[in-house]
């Protein structure tokens, strides 16, 4: 990596409802990589992502994205964020949703058509988002985040509920984006998806358990299956 990480989190503590969801968490995300954020539901992945895009109230610690404090006005054009629940307007069509977000981030018509194709929704442009399946809606949500060609993409469980073919296509797209210099942080609670990432950050109970590569994880635990590897790691840690 060329010196500066794309995302730097240091000693981050987030308290929600009187409970520390993140507890002094520290990590770096390399630029131009696909980094997977993996861990069981409720371990703090979404909270960490919200802190990175600057919409989470944090108790202490620092989050820096592209060298600027998370949530800075200048980052709003350079960071794309997809929430876990698809955040699109259910009463607008796919095209109308994209057109609205395109005018907010300053993307053109061609980009809209291109992205509808990328996320596999060509031919459905006129469908009202509320009438789509959950997977289709989350793809609209993903497309809106890609509109402004952000340098950093923070995707919260973007592949949940998608069929295997589409999931494979999306992972290919993610790697193409990374090859073009985009930094991607992608969360999942499905350990198999770790195999798709250049780097993986394993989280548990609001802390980073390990930051490694899929091969590194296999080598460390001696398990080929990444779910088993994760379990082995937890057993080893608590032993």
């Amino acid at each position: 990596m060329n010196g500066r990480p794309a995302i730097a989190v240091s000693e981050l503590t987030v308290v929600r409802g009187g409970r520390a969801v993140l507890n002094g968490l520290t990590l770096d995300v390399e630029p131009g990589h696909v980094t997977g954020l993996l861990g069981p539901s409720g371990c703090g992945k979404s909270t960490l992502m919200r802190a990175i895009v600057g919409v989470q109230i944090v108790a202490s610690g620092a989050v820096t994205v592209l060298g600027e404090p998370a949530g800075s006005a200048s980052l709003r054009r350079r960071v794309g964020y997809v929430t876990q629940a698809p955040s699109v307007y259910g009463d607008l069509s796919i095209e109308e949703n994209l057109r609205f977000f395109a005018s907010v981030v300053g993307a053109d018509e061609r980009r809209i058509a291109e992205l509808i194709d990328t996320v596999g929704l060509a031919g459905l442009e006129g469908r009202v988002a509320g009438s789509l399946s959950g997977g289709q809606r989350s793809r609209v949500s993903l497309a809106t985040a890609l509109l402004g060609r952000p340098a950093v993409l923070v995707l919260d469980e973007p592949t949940v509920g998608l069929d295997p073919v589409l999931r494979a296509e999306l992972w290919r797209d993610f790697h193409e984006l990374a090859a073009a210099g985009t930094t991607l942080l992608i969360s999942s609670h499905v350990m198999e998806e770790a195999a798709e990432c250049d780097e993986v950050i394993l989280m548990r109970d609001g802390a980073v358990l390990r930051q490694t590569t899929p091969d590194g994880l296999r080598a460390e635990t001696g398990e080929q299956d990444l779910s088993r590897a994760f379990l082995a790691l937890i057993e080893h840690e608590s032993a």
């Binding site: 895009v53 709003r76 929430t83 698809p86 109308e96």
Partner: protein, 245 residues
């Protein structure tokens, strides 16, 4: 603030409502039907209809816009679209002004229809002209919208949001003077009514209806209503937090 983004938000809100023809029909037809019903109810005492019919033309948009805006903004908060907007290059002012423009357009259409039916078909009359009543109606709609935006921050669910209407709007209607002259209320209520924005909105409409010159009080009414709108918008802006727990 960006004109492009503000315009995009206004168009988007209008587009969303366009997708819901039943809401549009309710918005435009219900006030007219209620006005006609009122005339019928007071058929034996036509002077009552004439004196409260005009102010009602100017108050319907206030009530309806309060409801619609509070639900629309609540949805924006609960579906995660607000959070997404907060991560984008959009200022809070873009959002508020965009909403104000969209609901201002709707209010204008609504006020035009209710005033046309009221003044042409149902025989209402205002000494200072139907135009003034229409303009006041649009101003009141913006006040309703601003209060609705602020109220949405205090509701977690749509059930709660609709309850804000009887909680926040009905008392103002009861105390504004439309049902009984404020001077005839108990001292406590009379003084309380001075603190409610709808009192001024109604007073302006009543002055526009009556034969007396508009006078300085009319100017005070308009200024206070406008100030109330701006204060409510500021409160609404304060509730649009980029960072939440």
């Amino acid at each position: 603030m960006s004109l492009v983004v503000t315009r995009a938000i206004a168009l988007r809100v209008l587009w969303q409502i366009r997708r819901d023809p039943r809401t549009i029909a309710l918005l435009l037809i219900v006030p007219v039907v209620l006005l006609a019903l009122l005339k019928w109810v007071f058929a034996g005492e036509p002077s009552v209809f004439l004196s409260i019919g005009v102010p009602l033309c100017g108050l319907f948009p206030f009530i309806v816009m309060f409801l619609i805006t509070s639900i629309a903004m609540l949805r924006e908060r609960t579906t995660g679209t607000l959070e997404r907007l907060m991560t984008l290059p959009m200022s809070r002012l873009d959002l508020l002004v965009g909403y104000a423009i969209a609901f201002g357009v709707l209010a204008t259409i609504q006020a035009t229809i209710v005033c046309t039916v009221g003044f042409v078909a149902l025989g209402l009359d205002a000494a200072h002209g139907v135009w003034l009543v229409g303009l006041l109606a649009i101003g009141n709609a913006l006040l309703g919208m601003a209060l609705g935006l602020a109220a949405s921050a205090f509701a977690r669910t749509e059930f709660q949001a609709v309850q804000f209407m009887p909680a926040l709007i009905f008392p103002q209607l009861l105390l504004c003077g439309i049902f009984i002259e404020r001077a005839k209320m108990s001292t406590a209520l009379y003084w309380l009514s001075w603190a409610l924005p709808l009192t001024y909105a109604y007073d302006a409409l009543a002055r526009a209806t009556g034969p007396a010159p508009l006078g300085a009080w009319f100017a005070v009414d308009v200024l206070v209503t406008a100030a109330g709108t701006i204060a409510a918008l500021a409160l609404g802006a304060a509730t649009l937090k980029r960072r939440t727990a």
